[in-house]
């Protein structure tokens, strides 16, 4: 009891040492907050510019077709038209598109991480002639435009009969994700002290074992970061998905959304906005969720040393 009562008293008596007491120099405070005003106005304007379209998108997804065609674009929706979402999900086939995207993303991401981390380890930690050349060859892949590989791949998938499945997407995503992943992982492995692998070897571990049980866990946080970056590349990709999804039931979420208006006769604004919303806020949620995980992982790593 006595402690809780003493806290406010102590605060009044002795303001926290880090910050000067507020009442001491009022004139300077006023001038300071005045000089900060343009900055604050600017920040408010910027936030409005970024957030207003997103709020408008969300509100629009609840409007009826009649409100869209006859109401002001600034008007709030009169009610929550949830049927827009079910319409987008079923008639608009968002359910199929999301499923296809997941089927394409998960295996490619897994392969990119496993192959990329292993290659990064072999190129940076292991010592052999020509490893710099191989790393450079991987680096070149970052610059090559997707258009440069589409045609031969299309021909190859067509000839091997893979067209008509999601395999072309998985294979192409895996390969195009590798250059950046290998390069980034090699950079991360550079920071790991070699003595750790020497110790593992002295303890009797083979090189493969010390990769799997020492090297890989040591760059776990980096792996999470790389996976997050690659996830967004693949999830948001249009070029590769547009090229290799030859039938409408193979469409990924981005290709599906691009053809969304075509599902209905005329533009159905409510379902269209609901479809965009599912895509936008779903992705944003994933970003916030994973980003927090990555941050946590990074913080955990920092504390553990």
């Amino acid at each position: 009891m006595s402690t809780s009562a003493s806290i406010p008293a102590a605060t009044v008596a002795a303001p926290r040492s880090g910050r000067p007491p507020r009442t001491r120099r009022p004139r300077r405070d006023v001038r300071r907050s005045l000089s900060r005003l343009p900055g604050q106005l600017l920040v408010t304007a910027l936030l409005l510019l970024v957030l207003l379209p997103l709020v408008w998108l969300l509100l629009g997804s609840f409007k009826t077709q009649d409100e869209w065609l006859n109401g002001s674009p600034w008007a709030l929706p009169s009610g929550f038209e949830w049927s827009n979402y079910s319409e987008a999900w079923t008639t608009g086939q968002m359910a199929t598109y999301v499923r296809n995207s997941i089927i394409a993303v998960v295996p490619s991401l897994f392969l990119i991480v496993v192959l990329g981390v292993a290659a990064g380890f072999a190129l940076e930690v292991l010592v052999w002639r020509g490893r710099n050349t191989v790393l450079l060859v991987f680096l070149l892949g970052i610059m090559v435009p997707g258009q440069m590989i589409l045609l031969p791949l299309f021909t190859a998938y067509f000839q091997t009969g893979l067209t008509g499945s999601l395999w072309p997407l998985i294979i192409t995503y895996t390969a195009t994700g590798l250059p950046l992943t290998v390069f980034m992982m090699a950079t991360y492995f550079r920071a790991v002290p070699r003595e750790i692998f020497e110790a593992a070897t002295l303890d009797g571990a083979s090189m493969l074992r010390s990769f799997a049980f020492v090297g890989f866990p040591m760059v776990r946080n980096a792996v999470l970061t790389v996976a997050l970056v690659q996830f967004f590349f693949i999830w948001n990709d249009l070029l590769i998905a547009l090229t290799f999804t030859t039938s409408s039931d193979l469409r990924t979420i981005q290709v599906g959304l691009l053809n969304f208006s075509g599902q209905f006769g005329q533009v159905q604004y409510g379902p269209l906005f609901a479809g965009i919303c599912i895509n936008v806020f779903g992705t944003l949620f994933l970003y916030l969720f994973f980003n927090q995980k990555v941050m946590k992982g990074l913080a955990g790593g920092a504390v553990k040393g």
């Binding site: 920040v43 600034w74 010592v127 435009p145 090189m207 493969l208 547009l242």
Partner: protein, 294 residues
């Protein structure tokens, strides 16, 4: 120890899978695509050797020239504006907001992760004129300006494309350049402040020269991305009206998959690759010259 780190079996097991996939699905297709430039036809109808016909045709094709010009225009305008805006934001984060910038940084970063297709469809509606004015036109009306048919001609459509891509990417370049500003030693700034340097001259003489390396890598990164623009234009204007907003990437795509001309498509892809190679080299060279001068 050298012998253990040079373990041949380990190198093979760890590297081979990635190298095989990368070679088969990226390196080989690049070479085959170059070979395609000498042929006509496609995967379904078969190929026929035509020598340098595709390349000579490309040099004379006004469609290719328009697409090349559009690509360069888009690349230069967007690179300058997005790196410029990003740098402005980074300065704002570092010198005006300081510690309080974390939340703002996160919020302004949101558009970066959003799918381009979804953002483009949203911007189509923001700038639409029929059947109902979008947010932008109705805002113009408030100020007594008549509604503009943004997607009705190439010039205004170009403006919308640039605005949308700025909206999408500014937060990214801001964070990228902000991390560069963080590396500027605090004591240099402090001593300049004590010498009575104004905010402008501090930016001009201290911040700008010291953040030049990260600024240049942003430029390279940006020009490489903007020359390959595809998603945002396909989803926003699909190259129209006519072909007024068609970049090389989209022209290549249409030539190959709408008209089934693989050889000609591959030639345009080659032009695109050479272009991004040239830009990267050019910026690298000018970067080296500038660094020796400063």
């Amino acid at each position: 120890m050298e012998r253990v780190l040079g373990d041949k079996k380990a190198i093979f097991v760890l590297l081979a899978p990635a190298l095989v996939v990368y070679s088969a699905v990226m390196l080989a297709p690049v070479l085959i695509s170059m070979q395609y430039t000498l042929f006509t036809g496609n995967a379904i109808s078969g190929f026929e050797y035509v020598g340098f016909d595709n390349l000579t045709r490309m040099v004379q094709d006004p469609g290719v020239r328009r697409a090349l010009w559009f690509t360069l225009q888009y690349g230069v305008v967007l690179t300058v504006t997005q790196v410029g805006l990003g740098y402005g934001l980074a300065l704002l984060y570092q010198f005006t907001l300081r510690r309080g910038s974390t939340v703002i940084r996160t919020l302004l970063f949101f558009p970066v992760v959003l799918p381009t297709v979804a953002v483009a469809l949203l911007f189509q509606r923001l700038f639409q004129v029929a059947p109902q004015d979008g947010l932008v036109n109705s805002l113009l009306n408030v100020f007594g300006i008549g509604s503009v048919d943004w997607f009705g001609n190439g010039g205004t459509a170009f403006v919308v494309i640039i605005l949308m891509d700025l909206w999408r990417s500014a937060g990214f370049y801001a964070v990228l350049l902000y991390t560069g500003l963080l590396d500027i030693p605090e004591d240099i700034m402090e001593s300049a402040r004590l010498d009575g340097a104004s905010a402008f001259s501090m930016v001009r003489h201290i911040v700008l020269p010291l953040s030049l390396p990260v600024l240049l890598s942003s430029l390279i990164f940006s020009i490489n991305g903007t020359i390959k623009v595809f998603d945002s234009i396909v989803a926003l204007t699909n190259g129209g009206p006519g072909d007024e907003t068609t970049p090389l990437t989209l022209l290549m795509f249409q030539t190959s998959f709408s008209y089934g001309q693989y050889g000609y498509g591959a030639s345009i892809a080659l032009l695109l690759t050479v272009l991004s190679l040239l830009f990267t080299l050019a910026i690298f060279r000018s970067a080296r010259r500038d660094n020796t001068k400063v």
